[in-house]
Symmetry: C2
Subunit: 442 residues, 2 copies
């Protein structure tokens, strides 16, 4: 993409309303624009990252056997009366009356609707297990939206729902999502730690929050250091096999959010093993049994010919929130430092002298070659001063910068800068191409 044809409205001033670094950087880097309290437009740079995150989530959901569909944003109130949540949900639910005075709502989540879909079509244990998910905009009318897209009102969530014949089968479904989440966040360059969460009235041990560590995180978390070094399950993980050994390895060491923290147990760990840090919740998985299937009549026939309510779980990933979390975990004083897997572009190619024939031709050639091998390039072909170009590229945080100007090109070289380390190398055009390609396709 040529910068001259892109839309990248960089802000020079730091917006006053932004309280946290990810919000500040997203505004400054022209990634989002607030349209009203807690409601944002995703400008082209932000939109590209959103898409990258979605794609990773989708690939890992598919690997774990979840099937994608798409439910609408607007739901009928009656559906929520069946589960009893319409009145219980309170003011966070955005309630709407349509032209025929029917009560509707903007979905904050989809347990009721997916249960309605399930009960309409599925009758037999033979059609189980089933895991259906979607990635859709949700609305929660927060009383005080803040922290940019981290606690917005209109937000993008992946929510999956599993259906199984009994609790034992539901545990397998739960484990599949547990492992999928480990892989999902790891692919984004995040270290996400599953932490036992409050299961409320249902009880049991089948609810985990996935928390990433970031010094600017929203809440205090505590864990055993060994969790930081556990290997992520590989691409070759067989999701049809018993995944409980993986889940056990990840849930046996101590890990707890503020709310669930038990100081006595934590204090019993060797001091060097105790990690006390700040965290951000990016995922939440939950087994809730027959909480919705029972009142809503989602029943299936067992192999023995009896009818039972189906056992369900739900599995959320905060897709839009992840952008904020990623920036909280990856930035420095100059701006964002994107992991390559979610970077809006891989390379920022800076032409220091647009209009200079040699520089233009060297840049155009490199741009075309990199794009041809699947490296996504933002080519700054705009006539502005070098200082502004460098500051913008550091701010938007693409993994690599290639800086080309008449002086270097006279000697046949360009500069390659790795954003994360700040390391710079003078390389021939050929070597620069190879350096970047190899690093990004490794």
């Amino acid at each position: 993409m040529r910068l001259s044809r892109f839309f990248l409205p960089i802000l020079k001033e730091t917006p006053k309303e932004a309280e946290i670094v990810s919000h500040r950087l997203m505004l400054r880097a022209g990634m989002i624009r607030q349209q009203s309290a807690g409601i944002y437009s995703w400008l082209p740079l932000g939109f590209r990252v959103l898409r990258k995150i979605e794609k990773i989530v989708e690939e890992e959901q598919a690997r774990a056997g979840a099937v994608q569909l798409l439910m609408p944003t607007i739901q009928p109130a009656d559906l929520w009366r069946e589960s009893g949540r319409y009145d219980a949900y309170g003011k966070e639910m955005l309630r709407i009356t349509d032209r025929h005075e029917r009560e509707m709502l903007y979905g904050p989540t989809n347990e009721e609707m997916i249960t309605e879909i399930f009960r309409s079509y599925v009758r037999s244990y033979k059609d189980l297990p089933l895991n259906l998910y979607h990635i859709q905009w949700k609305f929660r009318d927060e009383v005080r939206p803040r922290f940019g897209i981290m606690r917005g009102r209109e937000f993008l969530m992946k929510d999956a729902y599993s259906f199984d014949i009994d609790k034992e089968a539901a545990r397998h479904a739960y484990n599949r999502m547990f492992v999928a989440y480990l892989r999902t966040f790891a692919r984004m360059g995040l270290k996400a730690i599953p932490m036992r969460a409050d299961t409320g009235p249902i009880g049991g041990d089948m609810s985990h929050e996935f928390i990433i560590l970031a010094s600017t995180g929203e809440s205090a978390v505590f864990c055993d250091r060994s969790l930081l070094d556990l290997p992520t399950p590989g691409e070759d993980t067989d999701f049809l096999s018993d995944l409980s050994p993986i889940v056990e390895a990840w849930t046996t060491p101590y890990a707890a959010t503020d709310e669930m923290h038990d100081e006595t147990t934590f204090a019993a760990l060797p001091e060097a093993e105790r990690v006390s840090a700040r965290g951000i919740e990016v995922g939440h998985i939950f087994y809730f049994g027959t909480k919705y299937s029972e009142p809503m009549g989602a029943r299936v026939m067992t192999a023995e010919g009896t009818e039972v309510p189906v056992h369900m779980g739900s599995y959320g990933v905060g897709v839009s929130r992840l952008l904020g979390a990623l920036i909280e975990a990856n930035h420095d004083d100059d701006g964002i430092i994107w992991p390559a897997s979610v970077a809006p572009f891989h390379v920022g190619l800076i032409n220091l002298k647009p209009g200079d024939a040699d520089t233009d031709s060297a840049c155009a050639g490199l741009y075309a070659r990199l794009e041809a091998v699947g490296v996504e390039v933002l080519y700054d072909d705009v006539d502005t001063r070098a200082g502004a170009k460098f500051a913008t590229m550091d701010l938007i945080g693409l993994p690599f910068q290639i800086i080309a100007g008449p002086r270097g090109l006279k000697d046949g070289v360009v500069e390659v800068k790795e954003r994360a380390s700040g390391q710079r190398e003078s390389l021939s055009l050929e070597a620069a191409f190879n350096r970047v390609r190899e690093a990004l396709t490794a």
Copy 2:
């Protein structure tokens, strides 16, 4: 995808409420489910087609230089007061009051919001031309939603907005979208005819509807037969060049919707040239000058140093509506006939005897080989009777079926059926693989 792990709720009965064939077929094929009047869930098969359509739209928008972003579904009422449309819009606008009693609405379109984004950042002619688009769910509270997703209330639309320094430049922007639309619909296997549309109070000739012909179309259309044979602009079209010769070639022959039809002009055509048919609107492009930029203060500096309101156009594609239109244009008594470019899968692989070791192994091998070369296969590995398998595959309309059973495999052959022509061939596994791969990657 193995059918045993997919979610494909086929209906045996034809639903009574469905008045048109696309609605009936989408319900029967398990593509959509109505959640309330005019509001649908997209079940996995329908969702896959929606994604294919989106991808083609995105690729052609990018080719024409439009930049993708994403605006939210919920908008503040005040924005629409600036343009004067808040009161003018009437009951089709879904109006919402949030917990703080602020007036909001579910966006039916985005002229106001995109103008707000533009005026917040862009100051100079140097940043033009600019075309920003998104693909987002919209809501129009139709008094009587009908025809399934063809006239739903919550629907997915691509809407692009162009910004130019004057009318002449805006005409170029208009032409780029015009040509992009010709390519977009052609890639979906549709013959879309641009027809001059009513420009309302603004006047001029810069508004066209893109209408596809289908015998079950919603309205009468009239055109010169020569339009049916005009070649679609190629992939190598240079969108920076003057596209007016292409636009002229497509707009000179007679073409009109019912509303704009001039019987005298039409009757003057040689009888063999007169096409009188039914059509479905799938796109609409529009130049509206300074209609929004003037009242909303979206002004830019010209090269001469004067400030002028920016000239705008908007360009819509009915993304979800296209599914219905595609089916109206491509079906027979047995079901849907998807063009390969938008088919939910390319091949339906039917295992006639799951559990039979040879058949299972032949199918699994073919399935893996086809997937490995990028052919998307729905593998029916479920133990049901052959008649039901055939009927389902015809109903969901994948371009090819490969039918494998013990009897044929004894002689080393499977049957390949092309859905559109009904043509069947007995081929070796190798030949079947090549037949399908070549047809789909041609």
